[in-house]
Symmetry: C2
Subunit: 494 residues, 2 copies
């Protein structure tokens, strides 16, 4: 290769014109050496001569030469400067790698991960509480205080399973509020519910093992299980929660069963006591239940009916991992969730957690522990409960007013969302698309489902009311109805 | 079962004496129903009668009855109260589950995860910088400012790949400082280096794929790969870094190669330019390099020698993921690390990250972006560099003075640790144990190694100087020498 030709590219746009000229010369020469255009052993002109030939300042050339010498791309001897003899990559490697379809793309499992819709954070986006109602100033005070308290030691690698102060506060709270049978040693704090589910998948199951998932169900858990190498089996859900047929127990015995018993996500069923006991009884000694109690903190059951306590507490030492999160209570970005495991496996589970993750968030965890202990969390929950209950009632009324009194509204005994079941006619994704155009966020029920033999994917809308302004609910539901009507009357061309 | 017998256990120690009596009665009855001691259909005495018979307050009985009725364990009819007919678990389930050796323990992969030594955070614990020298007050100011700036929106689910502000700051910094060829779109921020490695393992490889790991090498990466279902292949390391034989390329072609090129962990070799190019050339189109640049921020090479730039920048679009962390620069508990992926896969890699993890840490990421942008990070690095260099020199001198001038000290061109190679005689784990007794932390080199054909596990000590007080280094090394001598002279009975 002719050096002149090479240097002609120095001011070409492709060579990052924002970089200083000496940097560009360095890169240009380096790339030519790496891809073999400047062959090993080739002599380079002296810096003085190259500068004169190419009309550059000598310092520019000196900088590039010195850097390349220091890095081993050039060699200096008595006769001057030569290109080092290095393994050559050629330019083919570049083109090969640039081919997205080549052998070196993402993994097969990566391709199967659920793509989250990039939905705007507007009513009725599900899964979010009212961030404006959160007592930010009190929380900020707790954070500041915790910053003052933690030692440098705690800001180094924290306990992988969570700050002892928080574990204690959580154990006390869960025992009292959810009938969870535990001591602090059984509690593990990790950075979010997804990480908790991931820990369960990898510490309790091996690649190829079968996990039963509710269908329709929480989509993120499908990704977690796929990424962990497990075989997901979608199991239908009825009005009493997950409903596996007798044959499923025999044909696909589960290593893990993932359940949202308090308020099935997204259909809202409460897993019946009979089913809870049946799952426990049939699993004993052969598999695990993951009990995701993701939104049980807000219970809207009528006064006569108490929310069922956690499966975890039904039987001492049962193979159940109870999972909870603070995303909906505080704010999702906090990334603090927890697991409760049986006493007999706690020590070894903790070793596994320490093997998988490094601890962090010492400040946030400490602040949260105090927030729980001094009653701040309970006060916040108490303040929000009637607000959320009212929002749910308004949403229900508005849905009935706009979609007809006989409309099928599912769920609502707990949590922050209702699910509107629609007849198979309208395509829920089309409604969601049109609603977005009207400034309303909703999620399509069909996005939660997996089609299977005897399991058609249901049509509907999953509607979160956690952040919906009460005054606007009727108007927003009106737009939702308009979007639905539009989608029915003008279905997209196939 | 006789109810009297059952109630006799009410004040037994096993029934959580700290709970109120009504709670204990509730639990006692519930457990008896669940395990079948109280059979379905059995009649219970009226609350008044039970209270009288058992010498309890009637309210105590009423509370327990009402709770069990509400939860479905009891049924009320005109004739009184009876036990509901529910699936029975028996007590066998409990005993079965309590057996740690039963079929329902941890997964096989969990059993293989590396157990981290529970070592005290004292000199010479490796992998930690000087936490006392970190500009805490300036950092706290940045955090407070960021808290004021972020919206509720940002405190909800943050961008899974990181705050745009931080991505920009990182791309600028890496281009300038490490020769990394990137735009912000190629940068992904996750909660710690281990999560970054986990993302690479799962997004770039499938269960069963082969990953080459340096031997000896970073132990946590072995756990990450195991948990992701990959087959790890330990590859020997020489003075130029990872040294795979020709036959390995043919017999076990890698899907992933994990490298610590700037300062091999723990032996300290710098991966030569020849090897870097060779790895790139041989992998093209068939696999990925994970370039873990874990401690390149502190370069102690002599002025004439410049640190080699990152492999990532050697060839545009090469299949390299560059990984870095802020653990050692700021503090480990911060949990912020980053990856740089090739341009052509950035969008799809980002979708994968969003499928695997939820974003968080908006405040910390924003604060860090500002800390980088306004020069705070550079100032901190500049202030620490001579301090760490001095500590390394003192450690080296003290090792030579105490272990003999001919002692084999490895590494030191970068980072925060030196590795002392010992002859096969003394057992390094025994030295570590004895040193701990003398208040000195060291890590055994053999803990990093995996024995294999032609790959004996090396003996030695990995010594971090990041947090060592300069005045104490000679005295601490003296104790280390004493522990070594002790271990040689009085080996533990086999």
């Amino acid at each position: 290769m002719n050096l002149d030709q090479l240097l002609a590219g120095l001011d070409a746009a492709s060579v990052s014109p924002e970089q200083p000229r000496q940097q560009r010369l360095y890169r240009l020469l380096k790339e030519a050496i790496v891809d073999g255009r400047l062959a090993g052993g080739a002599r380079l002109p002296s810096s003085r001569q190259l500068a004169a030939d190419a009309g550059m300042a000598r310092n520019t050339v000196l900088y590039a030469y010195q850097q390349l010498l220091a890095e081993g791309f050039l060699l200096a001897d008595r006769r001057g400067t030569q290109v080092a003899s290095l393994p050559q990559l050629g330019r083919a490697g570049i083109a090969g790698a640039a081919d997205e379809m080549g052998g070196v793309g993402l993994s097969r499992r990566a391709a199967g991960l659920h793509r989250r819709a990039d939905e705007p954070l507007l009513p009725f986006a599900p899964g979010v509480g009212d961030l404006n109602a959160f007592p930010w100033s009190s929380w900020a005070r707790h954070l500041r205080k915790a910053w003052g308290e933690v030692s440098a030691r705690q800001l180094a690698y924290a306990e992988a399973g969570g700050e002892p102060l928080l574990l204690r506060a959580l154990a006390d709270d869960l025992r009292a509020r959810r009938g969870v049978d535990c001591t602090p040693e059984q509690v593990f704090v990790v950075a979010g519910a997804q990480m908790a589910l991931d820990a369960c998948a990898r510490l309790l199951a091996d690649a190829g093992d079968t996990v039963w998932l509710e269908n329709p169900g929480y989509t993120a858990v499908r990704s977690v299980m796929l990424a962990a190498g497990l075989q997901s089996l979608p199991v239908p859900v009825d009005g009493q929660g997950m409903a596996p047929g007798e044959e499923l127990w025999k044909s696909h015995p589960p290593r893990l069963i993932y359940l949202t018993p308090s308020h099935q996500y997204p259909l809202g069923a409460v897993l019946s006591l009979e089913r809870r006991l049946e799952f426990l009884g049939r699993l004993a000694g052969s598999g695990w239940i993951i009990e995701d109690d993701y939104d049980s903190e807000f219970c809207h059951a009528s006064p006569g009916r108490r929310p069922l306590p956690a499966i975890q507490g039904l039987q001492s030492d049962a193979p159940v991992v109870y999972v909870g999160t603070f995303s909906k209570l505080l704010y999702p970005g906090l990334r603090i969730a927890y697991m409760v495991v049986p006493r007999w496996i706690a020590r070894r589970f903790g070793e596994g957690i320490a093997g998988l993750y490094r601890g962090g968030q010492a400040v946030e965890q400490r602040a949260l522990a105090r927030f729980i202990e001094n009653g701040g969390l309970t006060r916040h929950l108490r303040a929000m409960a009637p607000i959320y209950r009212r929002r749910q009632a308004l949403l229900r009324q508005a849905l009935q007013a706009n979609f007809g009194a006989a409309v099928d509204i599912l769920g609502g005994e707990a949590g922050l969302h209702l699910t509107l079941r629609l007849p198979q006619g309208p395509c829920d994704r089309e409604i969601v698309r049109r609603a977005a155009g009207l400034g309303v966020t909703a999620r399509a029920l069909s996005d939660y489902g997996v089609a299977g033999p005897g399991q058609p994917v249901e049509n509907g809308l999953v509607l979160g009311y956690g952040m919906a302004d009460e005054k606007l609910i009727p108007e927003l539901v009106g737009r939702l109805a308009r979007a639905t009507l539009d989608a029915v009357q003008h279905p997209p061309a196939q």
